[in-house]
Symmetry: C2
Subunit: 266 residues, 2 copies
Amino acid sequence: MLADINGTEAAARVADVLLLFTDGPESLGVSAIARQLGLSKAVVHRILRTLTDRGLLITDPVSRGYRLGPASAALGARALRESTLRSAAMPVLRELQRATGETTTISARVPDGRVYLDQVESAQEIKMTVEVGRRFPLHAASSSTCILAFLPPHEQEAVLTGELGTLTSRTVTDVDALRARLAEVRAVGYAHSIGERQSGAASVAAPVFGFDGTAIGAISVCGPADRVDDAARERFVPLLCEAADRISRALGWRGGLPTQGDQESA
Amino acid sequence: MLADINGTEAAARVADVLLLFTDGPESLGVSAIARQLGLSKAVVHRILRTLTDRGLLITDPVSRGYRLGPASAALGARALRESTLRSAAMPVLRELQRATGETTTISARVPDGRVYLDQVESAQEIKMTVEVGRRFPLHAASSSTCILAFLPPHEQEAVLTGELGTLTSRTVTDVDALRARLAEVRAVGYAHSIGERQSGAASVAAPVFGFDGTAIGAISVCGPADRVDDAARERFVPLLCEAADRISRALGWRGGLPTQGDQESA
DNA sequence: GGCTTCGTTCCGGTAACCGGAACAATGATT
DNA sequence: AATCATTGTTCCGGTTACCGGAACGAAGCC
């Protein structure tokens, strides 16, 4: 009935089942998945069987549930290796880590959120690390707001009118406050946050643009809140913005305006 | 007709399309995929659209095809982080690399082959590196034969009676020769090869067993053939076998026989 | 030991999907 | 430059493969 709107429903279900494993716990059971996706247990069961057969999932004997399998790892290893965003960012992030002394991260926009693609960990004994590969919403934390601020208007609205869940006590859940904040991020070109996603953590982030000028991700410098204070952030911002700019340009971004006159028409 | 034998065909198609990206080139088009999987272009097109919508694939403007997307990277990052095989192997591989001076690798068995999950690169200037995340057949190279040799009989037969493609001029494609070789691998507990998968490369590998005693992967020490010669291999083998053994035990393997009396019944 | 919840299987009705064909657009070939 | 081949995409009707409610045995919880 609401069929071919974008591909096929059957395929969408399969994708959704798989992607559930990037959000939640390591191990999921048939019933839990069926509940979350609003599907019958029978359907979910069949899909899980197929994915297990192909090695994308494995059955976990101890938790009696399903987990990501070797084929998923293979797929992702390949995707990570070929990710132009990650490859362009990593050398820059290493420099940025050395210059700031704090952990640096690269996030990519995905449908309904963003994920950390990788990080360069601080060498200090007390440091912050992030969960690579887990999906986070776009309305909280610096990397997220950075991406959100530079999204095309309709995508931005979709997020703003959606549910603004609370991650910590400092998460901004008021739509108007969030709008004001996004305007500010757009004005200054970077975002900062303290303990919005994770208590005790602070970070500054700047957006990374694809060749067509859309925000495809963000890089951040992050660490314990008592070390990453106002003074530290002030020091980080120029380094951060320059780094983000270099990555964007490495991805073909020309600076600000939508690409045109790109083709060799002369 | 040949329906629910193992899950659903629709889901299988989706998985197959995705997995095609772990074997072949970075970018694939609708027609190429349809040809390889024996599907109509329309079907493939719909699946690709859905997967793109979910971020698992992205359309590549330059190659005018589809590539793995950020959601795949996220999925894989998570899978890699949670891979008990990889986590158990990496510290041991680092030691093994230091002890041997050559690149060490960890492979996992997947349906229809194996993939490199990760590697610890040699510090030497001339070194060998492998393609992490790409699927390779089970009948050639040391890591592959290692896994194959310790597979349950019926799975082994499935591979032996399947197509034994040629990767290099030194690939063993004769079934009887291969059988003899597998017997030898089982006898000594490790495998070695010279230039079977990649010309100029040599390696020794040992199997890793899961908690139930089945071969779930293999580790290897590999390098340029002129450096990894008979003498070097002789030096590597004991280190290699001990390392593999430690990894297997970390995964719950008790040694040789199928687990029984595992439960705390006393 | 009763109760719930789990994963799994069965089966028929149906609607969602498949595939052939047609389309426009791109790039190769002569 | 014109043709040809191949690509990605869309359309639409027939039918097949799938969906889902229900029932099953098993496992854990109280």
